[in-house]
């Protein structure tokens, strides 16, 4: 479903930058690597023809959330007075647990037979709003907006100075 060369490049970028996201000591660099990871993932979505999802991913994640993370890191840097770094603890134990999880997931994925990829009957970009607003997905959609409102209030209440 994707051009193999492009797929190779995307995969390579994802591998490298997700490792950097986790392993870089400087949190600023780590969050920028996260931005690259999210960006490349968005291109996977676009390659799956979920164009709206892909652009939304970049718009909200890369344009919103990562900028927020950068803002917080810069603010913390202002307080501390030097680049914000983060070390690691219990590296061996964490590595073991995550390696076990990865091996388990790999075993599950490789031992499962997946059906062939099917074509879309309609065009996803045009079908999405109808699906979201006119079928049973409208309820989770509304609940989500309530959740966002609650998060907004919660954030203000927690972070407010007395």
């Amino acid at each position: 479903m994707i051009n193999p060369v492009l797929y190779g490049i995307f995969t390579f970028l994802l591998f490298v930058f997700s490792i950097l996201t986790i392993a870089h000591r400087d949190l600023m660099k780590a969050s920028l690597s996260l931005a690259v990871v999210l960006f490349v993932t968005a291109f996977f979505y676009i390659a799956f023809k979920f164009e709206f999802l892909g652009w939304t991913q970049i718009l909200l994640y890369v344009g919103g959330i990562v900028v927020l993370i950068l803002f917080v890191i810069m603010l913390a840097r202002e307080y501390v007075g030097k680049p914000l770094e983060s070390g690691f603890r219990r590296t061996w134990l964490g590595g073991l647990v995550s390696a076990l999880i990865f091996i388990f997931l790999l075993w599950v994925i490789l031992s499962t037979e997946f059906p062939e990829i099917q074509n879309f009957s309609t065009e996803p970009v045009k079908d999405l709003p109808n699906l979201l607003l006119a079928t049973h997905y409208v309820l989770p959609f509304e609940v989500l907006s309530l959740l966002l409102l609650a998060a907004l209030f919660g954030g203000i209440v927690i972070a407010r100075r007395e």
Binding site: I22, Y45, I69
Partner: protein, 99 residues
């Protein structure tokens, strides 16, 4: 280049995220690792949606993105509050329940 390759990729991202959560000292680093896990899950949803040829595959990642927004906002608010109270953002130094 089927679904399997993408699933393996996202499994890799997921376990890296778990590694980050387990080992990072700073609470900010843990939140960043959490983003990676969310992203891996969203990628899986989209890949399965593509596999079955269903547009629904792109709805769950959209919900996932919105939930991540909430998570980030509240997480940072809590980190800021902790910083004001305890003067640290290191997760392993915040181990006292009572102020």
């Amino acid at each position: 280049m089927g679904v399997k390759a993408i699933l393996i990729l996202s499994a890799f991202m997921f376990s890296l995220g778990v590694f980050g959560i387990l080992t990072r000292r700073s609470a900010l680093g843990i939140l960043i690792a959490l983003e990676l896990i969310f992203n891996a899950a969203n990628l899986n949803f989209a890949a399965f949606g593509r596999m079955f040829g269903k547009v629904e595959g792109s709805i769950f990642p959209l919900f996932g993105i919105a939930i991540t927004v909430c998570e980030v906002v509240l997480g940072f608010a809590i980190i800021f509050y902790l910083y004001r109270v305890r003067k640290t953002t290191k997760a392993d130094e915040i181990d006292i329940l009572k102020g």
